[in-house]
């Protein structure tokens, strides 16, 4: 598509300013579409004759349709005539037209982008309008869950015509004063780039404003409410990182979770950062309730887990209480999200976490030596940050998917002070082994979840009985721990009835999985880990965070001696 721009000017009762605006535009020699939106004051006569060098078309609405309506009319006409981009400029002359070449250049460079002005005000702007803009900024940030929209109200912008008409055809966008804002939010939702160029804005003396404070502020408030609801409606499904998804198997689940989780996380961060912990808690109940009702797969997984847990606990002669229900399970997961946020922001008081460990482990920690910590999706790993009270204690959390890199970046963005580092690893290779060994030798810790099957090698599992039935566990963490020849521990960070606790326990030093006896020793290592996991799961059942069919039957084991591919 060739870049073929035109200018559009929506006009309602600003006719007297038009000659000045047009003469400033003359030097760019671009075709101009003026939409006279049922002005009560007629446009100056002979506009077309006065500017013979410019191709001016005047379109007229008999009935006032609002600024958005005028823009829509102009865009349709421009599209019909084969233009690709439309530069919109206000008719009242508040924009400095000298920046137009810059707008067009950027638009030509990124043809699908919405290029918008970002106003720099001089002293002529009324204070009240200045402040109300900030209110709008806050709304827009919430609606888009990002700070990328720097200004949503500037009327000087270049629309890519096809993209804009596509949005307008699909969504019901308010066409009055709210139009400028809403169309930009919708561009952001579609992940279409939005670019900003600073422009000087002055309010012309004796200028007439078509902005009617009561009516238009009401419309704008209504629009924001609508947009926030639309944003939230898209949210609960993503809140826990998974849409309603039938038959999400363990392997895919890891991938899905990550992708969808990112938006959920952003929402949480946003609410938490802007409104604080109490508001967040208040919002949790309805969100969890909606989620519990709609997320059938996760609910069924939770119910199946609890059934198995209860049956197993009974056979052990220590039945779990009646309070252990699927809804509470969901709710705890949500609360743990909150705890994560709090922990990431360093807002969990360190003395509120009790670290349970033997004298041996304490000595090991105090001597500044590192190790591998085998963990599980039970409880709230982020509490381990509390361990960082000891000087120089660094935990590297290992994740196995490529796309966790994005997640790691997000974490950095929100928790810059974090002492927990995320290592994103796609596969165990000699290079990663070397890297991890160096870290541990330098006294750092490496935490690996040993309860989730890697999405990249779903058959590298070892089936071990857990809560009375065989479940697949990954081989990787045990193989890695064995090959590094370093002390291995288990680490569980749980919220129990009497407070937050971290259990750091010795596992093996070093873990032996000798060549002659790989299979059996691997199975024995996994079994030893699962016994610890089972012990803690029974003590804190709601902390279980694997909301999928954990026992998935029929995963066949594939062992290291059977080489891959």
């Amino acid at each position: 598509m060739t870049f073929n721009p035109c200018i559009i000017i929506p006009c309602h009762d600003h006719g007297s300013m038009l000659p000045a605006v047009l003469s400033a535009l003359q030097k760019y020699a671009l075709p101009v579409f003026i939409v006279d939106d049922a002005s009560t004051v007629p446009l100056p006569p002979d506009l077309i004759k006065k500017f013979p060098a410019q191709r001016i078309s005047i379109l007229r609405h008999e009935k006032n349709m609002g600024k958005g309506g005028a823009v829509l009319t102009a865009l349709r006409e421009a599209d019909k005539q084969g233009f690709s981009h439309a530069l919109q400029i206000d008719a009242d002359g508040q924009h400095d037209s000298r920046v137009i070449p810059e707008f067009l250049a950027l638009s030509r460079e990124i043809p699908n982008a919405l290029v918008s002005g970002r106003p720099i005000y001089d002293d002529t702007v009324p204070r009240s309008r200045f402040y109300s803009r900030y209110l709008t900024h806050a709304w827009v940030w919430l609606e888009t869950l990002s700070f990328s929209i720097k200004d949503s109200m500037c009327g000087l912008r270049v629309y890519p015509i096809k993209e804009t008409l596509a949005i307008l055809a699909r969504a019901k966008v308010g066409l009055r004063m709210e139009f400028d804002i809403e169309i930009m939010v919708r561009f952001a939702w579609r992940k279409t780039p939005i670019k900003f160029i600073p422009v000087h804005v002055s309010y012309p003396k004796d200028g007439i404003s078509n902005f009617r404070p009561w009516r238009d502020n009401f419309r704008i408030a209504r629009m924001h409410t609508r947009l926030v609801i639309l944003m939230l409606l898209g949210m609960p499904g993503r809140f826990f990182c998974g849409k309603k998804q039938e038959d999400v198997d363990a392997a895919n689940w890891a991938r899905l979770r990550e992708r969808r989780g990112l938006l959920g996380m952003r929402v949480l961060f946003f609410v938490y950062r802007f409104f604080g912990r109490r508001i967040f808690q208040f919002f949790l109940h309805p969100v969890i309730a909606v989620y519990w009702i709609t997320a059938g797969t996760h609910r069924r997984a939770s119910e199946a887990y609890l059934r198995r847990l209860k049956a197993f606990a009974t056979t052990r002669g220590a039945p779990v209480g009646k309070k252990i229900t699927s809804y509470r399970h969901f709710l705890r997961f949500g609360e743990n999200m909150l705890e994560k946020l709090a922990a990431w922001r360093g807002e969990i008081p360190k003395n509120s976490v009790e670290i349970v460990m033997s004298e041996n482990v304490r000595e090991h920690l105090q001597s500044g030596k590192g190790g591998i910590a085998l963990c599980a999706h039970l409880g709230n790993f982020e509490l381990c940050r509390a361990l960082a009270t000891m000087d120089g204690f660094v935990i590297n959390a290992v994740f196995f998917q490529e796309n966790t890199r994005r997640f790691a970046r997000l974490l950095e963005e929100f928790a810059a002070r974090s002492q927990l580092r995320i290592l994103s690893i796609t596969e165990f290779t000699p290079a990663t082994a070397v890297m991890l060994q160096e870290k541990i030798r330098a006294g750092e810790w490496v935490a690996i979840a040993a309860d989730r099957v890697s999405a990249d090698s779903p058959d590298r599992v070892v089936n071990v009985p857990f809560l009375g039935m065989e479940a697949p566990f990954p081989q990787g963490p045990f193989l890695l721990a064995a090959s590094l020849r370093v002390p291995v521990f288990t680490m569980f960070a749980l919220r129990e009835d009497d407070g937050r606790k971290i259990y750091l326990e010795e596992f093996a030093n070093p873990l032996e999985i000798p060549r002659a006896n790989r299979l059996d020793s691997l199975r024995a290592a996994a079994q030893k880990f699962v016994e610890k996991l089972e012990f803690h799961t029974l003590r804190a059942p709601l902390e279980w965070a694997n909301f999928f069919d954990f026992w998935k039957e029929g995963i066949s084991e594939k062992f290291p001696h059977e080489n891959r591919e």
């Binding site: 000699p430 290079a431 082994a433 193989l479 890695l480 090959s483 002659a516 790989r518 080489n563």
Partner: protein, 91 residues
């Protein structure tokens, strides 16, 4: 190069506990993994660590690259030699 090849073979046998196997039994050009010597992923990690400590080499984080270097004793020797003396290898 020959001494290096010999050293690597000794390291493999010494580190990996290959029962009843002597360095001389390992063919220089035969694949180490799969159908060749039959090493597995845990062997690769252990071997990588030992080689790194002995020769102070660094592996690429690109898995494909590392796989190529670990194909046989010969490729490993070539890789280690190139890391020790990159200029000589260029010629």
């Amino acid at each position: 190069m020959d001494t290096l090849v010999k050293e690597i073979k000794q390291l493999i046998v010494g580190t990996l506990n290959l029962e009843g196997l002597t360095p001389e039994d390992i063919e220089t050009d035969a694949p180490l993994f799969r159908e060749g010597l039959g090493l597995d992923s845990i062997d690769a990690l252990e071997l990588g660590l030992v080689l790194k400590n002995k020769y102070k080499i660094s592996f690429s984080s690109e898995d494909q690259e590392t796989r190529k270097h670990f194909y046989s004793v010969a490729t490993l020797a070539k890789f280690i030699a190139s890391q020790r003396n990159p200029d000589a290898f260029q010629q």
